[in-house]
Amino acid sequence: MAWAWFHRLGSSPWIYRFSGSLLGYLLPLAMTLVVVGSIWGLAFSPPDFRQGNSYRIIYIHVPVSVVSLAGYYVMAIAGAVSLIWRLKVADMMMRVAAPIGAALTFLALLTGAVWGKPTWGTYWVWDARITSMVVLLFLYLGVYALYEAYDNKALASKACAILSLVGTVNIPIIYKSVDWWYSLHQPASIKFTGGSTIDPSMLYPLLLMIFSVYLLYACLLLMGLRLTLLETEAKTAWARKEVMGAQ
């Protein structure tokens, strides 16, 4: 009985219905907060004394970068749960997290490159931070491709879970790359210990954007999970009831 809540997470119909009702609130909230945060960052925060207005890319670049790193842990933990407890839902979560994480990592690299041109004078440089982010992108794409490469999907899931877990070593490397190596990329502006080096008028919209992109990521995960659940369990009675009942 003590673990009932955990085993309920393995129930496909429960997850499908609960995520459906949750998305009804979360998705509009996430989209609204992204819009509010973007407008705040674009129009109402002051320009930087050194970079002028090009720094405003920070309100997209940092949130998607942060969430792409956190999303890798989501994928890896889902893989671990799938390996240990053999929960199908965890396996689906891992597979859904891969393309979402890849898209966010791509966006981080793209906005970083666009920001690099006016700031560093170049779109690209093979410094530690950028290179390790490229490795992250390849890891995400690798998990997705590895699953598609196997005909035996049970084996595919195990291989993807192991790849996800091995790849977690890259996340602290990305995070500490600006401290460990001489890097063109600036060090962290937001610090968990000690004062942040960013003014509150710029920090608050940035924190709002980080929070809203996290929320949006959660929504994208749930949407992908619902789709995968229905695809995989189309022949079950609960799926039939959901589809026929929806009219």
Partner: protein, 52 residues
């Protein structure tokens, strides 16, 4: 924006396009899947009724 406008707007445009696609794609795919499944279930029910 002191000449940096195109960079900022390009970034926001990419952000909007990518995230917009990521939100719309699963919603569209789920709706399409439900339509296909409904057709399949209706066909199965008809086949069942004919058999009986």
């Amino acid at each position: 924006m002191a000449g940096h406008g195109p960079y900022v707007w390009a970034s926001y445009a990419a952000f909007t396009l990518v995230l917009g696609a990521m939100i719309i794609a699963p919603l569209w795919r789920l709706a399409a899947l439900k339509r296909r499944l409904k057709q399949r279930y209706v066909a199965l029910e008809k086949a069942q009724a004919v058999k009986e």
